[in-house]
Symmetry: D2
Subunit: 370 residues, 4 copies
Amino acid sequence: MSTTSPQERIPVALLGATGSVGQRFIELLADHPWFRLAAITASPRSAGKPYGKAARWMQASTLPDAVAKMEVLPTAPESASGCPLVFSALDSQAADLVELDFAAAGHMVVSNAKSYRMDPRVPLIVPEVNPNHLRLLESQPWAGGLATNPNCSTIGLMLALKPLEDAFGIEKVHVVTLQALSGAGVPGVPSLQAVDNVVPFIGGEEDKLESETGKILGRFDDGQIHHHSAVVSAHCNRVPVIDGHTLCVSVSLARPASPEDLFAAWNQYRGEPQRLDLPTAPAQPVHVLSQPDAPQPRLHRDLDGGMAATVGRLRPCPLLDYKFVTLSHNTLRGAAGGALLLAELALARGQIPGIEIPQEESLRMEGSDS
Amino acid sequence: MSTTSPQERIPVALLGATGSVGQRFIELLADHPWFRLAAITASPRSAGKPYGKAARWMQASTLPDAVAKMEVLPTAPESASGCPLVFSALDSQAADLVELDFAAAGHMVVSNAKSYRMDPRVPLIVPEVNPNHLRLLESQPWAGGLATNPNCSTIGLMLALKPLEDAFGIEKVHVVTLQALSGAGVPGVPSLQAVDNVVPFIGGEEDKLESETGKILGRFDDGQIHHHSAVVSAHCNRVPVIDGHTLCVSVSLARPASPEDLFAAWNQYRGEPQRLDLPTAPAQPVHVLSQPDAPQPRLHRDLDGGMAATVGRLRPCPLLDYKFVTLSHNTLRGAAGGALLLAELALARGQIPGIEIPQEESLRMEGSDS
Amino acid sequence: MSTTSPQERIPVALLGATGSVGQRFIELLADHPWFRLAAITASPRSAGKPYGKAARWMQASTLPDAVAKMEVLPTAPESASGCPLVFSALDSQAADLVELDFAAAGHMVVSNAKSYRMDPRVPLIVPEVNPNHLRLLESQPWAGGLATNPNCSTIGLMLALKPLEDAFGIEKVHVVTLQALSGAGVPGVPSLQAVDNVVPFIGGEEDKLESETGKILGRFDDGQIHHHSAVVSAHCNRVPVIDGHTLCVSVSLARPASPEDLFAAWNQYRGEPQRLDLPTAPAQPVHVLSQPDAPQPRLHRDLDGGMAATVGRLRPCPLLDYKFVTLSHNTLRGAAGGALLLAELALARGQIPGIEIPQEESLRMEGSDS
Amino acid sequence: MSTTSPQERIPVALLGATGSVGQRFIELLADHPWFRLAAITASPRSAGKPYGKAARWMQASTLPDAVAKMEVLPTAPESASGCPLVFSALDSQAADLVELDFAAAGHMVVSNAKSYRMDPRVPLIVPEVNPNHLRLLESQPWAGGLATNPNCSTIGLMLALKPLEDAFGIEKVHVVTLQALSGAGVPGVPSLQAVDNVVPFIGGEEDKLESETGKILGRFDDGQIHHHSAVVSAHCNRVPVIDGHTLCVSVSLARPASPEDLFAAWNQYRGEPQRLDLPTAPAQPVHVLSQPDAPQPRLHRDLDGGMAATVGRLRPCPLLDYKFVTLSHNTLRGAAGGALLLAELALARGQIPGIEIPQEESLRMEGSDS
C-alpha cells in the first residue's frame, strides 16, 4: 500500500503494550505507512522478557514475529529515547504516574488513558470532531506534549452527534450503552458474568460520557476550551459482545430538522481526517444503515476498517426530539485506531514539532525535480 | 403445599400450549392449588397428537407425564367445554381470530396475547398495579369475559413505577430495554444473531411499552379507563440472555422526592395480590438491591419465585429526575406467571361469575361444622 | 422438610467459603436436615470480615442473612473447634498445606480439593459407586480423618460407567469433555475466551480423569484400594456453559451387551445412598433420556436436584463397543453436593467416630416410648 | 491484486445464493481473479427479486452493490446459460433434484451439498488431499460434470490427517467435534439452544465424517476410488461459536512416529494447490500452534485467510497412539472457500473442458511477443 520504506518511518514507542488495547496498537502499527514500532514497555513483571513471552496474545491476527522478539522495556522515558512519538495504552493508575514524565522528557504523548482527559491544558480529540483543539498543544508547559483520546463510548457518540451539532445544535442527550467485553481487557469481566447475563454497571463510565462530551463539543478560543452546554445523561451496560459498543441515543436539537435533514447531515459529514486523507481515517465517518434492525455489533463493527460509526433506527422520541442507535468499534475506533488517527492528524497539521510525515519515494523523487 | 385434592380444582384450558409461554403455563399449573389443566390446544399441525409428541419441550424442568399424554386439541371453543377459565398463550395472529369466540362461548379468557390489550372494553392488568380495572369485566358484551396481561417488558416497568406514581406522581419515562431471548420463543431469534451480538430492535415492542403504560396507570371511572398522561419513550434491544428483561429507566416525578423516599416507596409497596395472599403472588412486588452492579438477569430473575421486580442503581438523572435499573422475569412474571396471578386475582375478587376458589379440606371441614 | 431443630444438627465448618464451590456449599447447607454451618474460613484477605462483605455472591439464590453476618475465620484448625465435620472447598494450593492439620486435630475432613485424592490412605468416593472405600478411614493415621470427592468430570463419568462395570465390565474408556465455566470459579475464565469460543484445554484435568477412574472403580481389599485396569483417554474442553459438564464417551466392555442391556443397567441402578435414603441422594443416580439431542446442559443439569447423571445418544462405536453422552451438574453433583452426600454416607455408615445422625423429633419421641 | 479485468473472468452461476454458504460464496467471488458472478439462483420464493431484497445478509462484510441489484433467478439450468461453471450452495433436498440437471445441461457443477458426495462417479475432493480423484470427471456420464466438496468437519479432519497418512499411515480415528453455529445457517439453531448450552447431536453429521473419510483418503485406480480402510468413530456437538469447527482427534498410526515426526509432517506438508499457487489456496495447509491452549476458534479460524487447518495439543493417547486438536473455518475452508479452491484446482489441471484460466494482461502481452 505504502511505498515508504520501514527505515524512513517515524520510530514510535508503545507504553502498556501487553494489554488488550496495547495489542490492538501492535496490530495497527504492523503496516502503518508513517510509523514504525521501535520500543514497547510494560509493567515491571513483564520488563526484560521478549514480548511474545510477556503478553498473552488474544487477537485473531497473528502476532508479528519481529514484535514477538522485541524486548519489553520498563515504562520510563529512557525506554522511549529516539522515539519522538509515544502511544500510551497504560491503564489510568500507571498513566497518572508516568505520562507527564514522558511529556516533560520531550516526547509527544498520545494517550488512551483517562488520566489527563479533563485537564484543561490537554486536548481531548476526536479527529473529525474537534481537530482545532490540538492548538492547546501550542501552550503546553512540557518540553514535549500530551494529547488524549476520549473514552471508547464517547468517541462513537461524538461521531454521531457532531454532524447534528453542526447542522442543528445539540441541547440534550440521553444515551444508554451496550458495551463490549473487550473494553475491560483480560482478565476483565469474569465469564460467569458474561454468559446468559448483562451487567448494568461499568465503574466511572457514565461520568466519562457525561463530562467528556462537553469538552469535545466545546469551542477553542483564547487558548482554551469553552465547554459545550449540552446536558448528557448516560447509563452504561456490559453485554456479551466481543467488540463493538451499541448506543441507544435520544437527542434534543436547537433547531427543527426532519429525518431527511438528519440523514443528510450524517451522510455528507466529512472531517479534517477525510480531507487530509489520513492513513487510518475512514472514508466516511458516519454510515447510515437502512435495515430495520441495524446496526448490530457482529455485522457492522468492522465497516470502513472499524473506524466509522454506523447509525440506524432514526425515529421521533416522545420525550426529546429524535432517537437512534449508533455503533462503533471500541478497540479500533474507540482506542488504538482513534489514537493513531489523532497522531496522524497532529502530524499532518504540523503540530508535533520536529517530526514530519515520511515522504513516499515517488513523491520524494518528484520533489527532487523542482 | 396445598391440601386441595386435584379433583376439586377448577378445570382450565390452555390455548397455544406448545410454544414457550405455553410451556411455562404448564410448569406453573402442574402444582397449582386452585387450577387443574384439563384441556390443551394448539395449531392444526399439532392437534390430535399427544402433547409430548407435539411440543418440543425446552424447559429445565421435566414435562409432567400426565401432560405428555394429553391429546392436543384444536384451538376452538368446543375444546374448552367444561373449563370456565381459559388461558391463552396464543400468538397475536391466532388470538385475533379466536379469543373473542371463547369469550362469546361463555369462557373467562385470560390472555397473554397483544390482540385486545388496547381494546377499551378489555382490562389490561398488572395485579398489584391496577386491580380495579377488572371492573371492566362487569360490562363486557360477551357471555364470558376477556382480561389481558401486558407485554413482558411493560409488566416489570409497571411494578417499578407504580410505587413512585402513588407516592410522587410520574410525568415522564425514558426506558431502554435489554430483553431476553425467551421472549421470542422457539425458533425465535436465530443463534447467529445471539452470540457476540445484540439486536437493537424488536418489532412492535416500543409501541407496546409506550401505549400500554398509559392504560395500566390510568384511572377507572364511569365504567371506563382514563389513560394516564405520562409520556413514555422506549427503545428495545434483544441481548444474549435466556430469561429476564433488564430496563434502564429515567423518570420525572411530579413532586420532589429524595432517594430515600424512593427506596421507601419501593420497599413498602404491597398490592392486592399480597393482601389477598394469592398463590402466585410474590411476597414483595419490588425488591431493592444494594450491590453496585445489581440487578443482573442470571442472578436476580428468579427472586421471589420469578414474580418480583428488582430495582437497583438509583441515582439522579441530569435530564429527568432519577435513573435506575429494573429487572423482571419475562416468561414468569412477564407472561405465564402474570396471567395466572391475574386469574387468581379475578377469582378472589369474585369477578369470574360461576366459579369460586376451591376450599382446602381443613377449611371445608371447619366450614361444615357451622 | 425436616423436623430436626437447627440446634440439634451437627455443627460443621466450611473451609474456603468465599469461592464458587464454597458458595454452593452454603446454599446446600442452608436447609440441610443433619448439618448446621457453624464456622466459615477463607484466605487472610477475607478473615475478620463478615461473609457478606468478604464474598462476591454469584449464585441465583439469595445469600442467607445469617451467613452474610457470620465472621470469616482464618483457615486453621482452631477456627473449626466444636465442629467434628469439616468441608473443604479450598483450592489445592491451600488444601496441600492445611487439610492434614485439620485431620490431625481430630476433624473429619471431607474435601473437594485434588490434593490428597490419589493418596493411598485417603478414600476417593462417589457414594453410589464405591461406598466401601470409606473403610480406608479405619486405618488412617490421623486423630480425625480425610475423605475426598473426585474431580467434577470424573464424578459424572463414574455414575455413568459403574452400572456398566457391574453388569458387563469396563475395559477401555475414551472421553471428551465439554466443561462449564463455573468449574473455574471467579474470576476464572476471562469472558473474552468464553464468547464465540471454546478452549480445548483445562490444566491438569485430563490427568485427573485418567487416574481417578482407576482408583474409584478399584477394589478395596486387605485394607487398601487395588486400582481398576481400565484404560482411560481423556480430552477436556471449556465451553460457554454456566453449569453442567457434557461428556462424549466411548467404551469397550468385557462382556457382550445389547443397547437394551445397557439401558436396563442404567435405569435399574441404585446405590447405597438410595438404599439409605440419604438427604442429598438423587432418587435415581442415572436417568436415560430418549430425545435424540439429549442431554443438554441448560435443560437437564438440574434433574433430580442436580445430583443425577443423565445419559443419552447410546449407539455403537466403530472403534470401541458403544458411545453415548452423559451430563452432570459440576458444582452440585460434581462438587458441593457430592461432598455433602459423601459426608452423609460416612455418617450413615457409622464411619465418623463420635457423631451420629440427628434424630427427627417424631422419631425421637417414638424412641422414648420404648 | 489481480490485473485480470472483470470482463475477461469466467462467468459463474451460484445456486442457492441466499443462504449462509451462498453468502460466503458471494463474499469470496467479489474479488476473485478468475471468476465473475454472473447469475444467482434461489428458491421460487426469492426468484424475481433483487438479491438485496431476497437475502437477509448476515455477513460482517458489506454486500456488494452490484450483487444487491442482481435479479435472483429460479434454480434451473436455463438460469445458468453462459456460465460454464456452477457453484451449488443448495441444501441437499434441492440439490438432490437439480444438480444432475445442471451437469446434464453441460455445466461443470462444484457442489457443497451432500447429495452426490458418496456417488462412486463423483469426486469428493479436498484439493490438497486427493486432487487426482478429479480424474473421475473424465468418465462421468453427463455433458458437463459434477464434483463435490466434503462436509465442513470432514475437510478440517482430512487436512490434519493427510500428512500423517502419507508419512505413517492412518489406521483408526476417533473424533469428537465442537461445531460452530454458522454450519446450520439461518434460522438454524434456535438461540435458546445456543446460550448457556451445547447440543450433543447434529443430524447425519457423524455418518458423513465416518464415511467421507474413507473415500477421500482412498486410492484412484482403474477409473474408480478404492476406499481407505481406516476405521473412524465420530461424535458431533454444536457449541455457541459463530465460525470454526474444533475437533478432538485420537489416531492410531500404521508405523511408529515421534511427536517431532508428526510436527514435521504437518509443517512440511504442501499440496497441489500450493504448488500451483491457486488464488484461494492457503500458503500452508496445516499450521502447528505451540500455545498450550491453542487452537481456539475465535483466535485461529481466520489464519491464512480462513483456508488452513490449525493443529495443537499433540500428546500420546492411552488408547490409540496420539491425540491432538484441530480447527478449521467451517464456512470458508469448510464450504465456500473449499469449493472455490476445488474449482480452481480442476481448472488449473485442465479438467474443465472448454474453459481456461484467464490470463493476466502482463502475461498475455508477454505471450503475444512470441
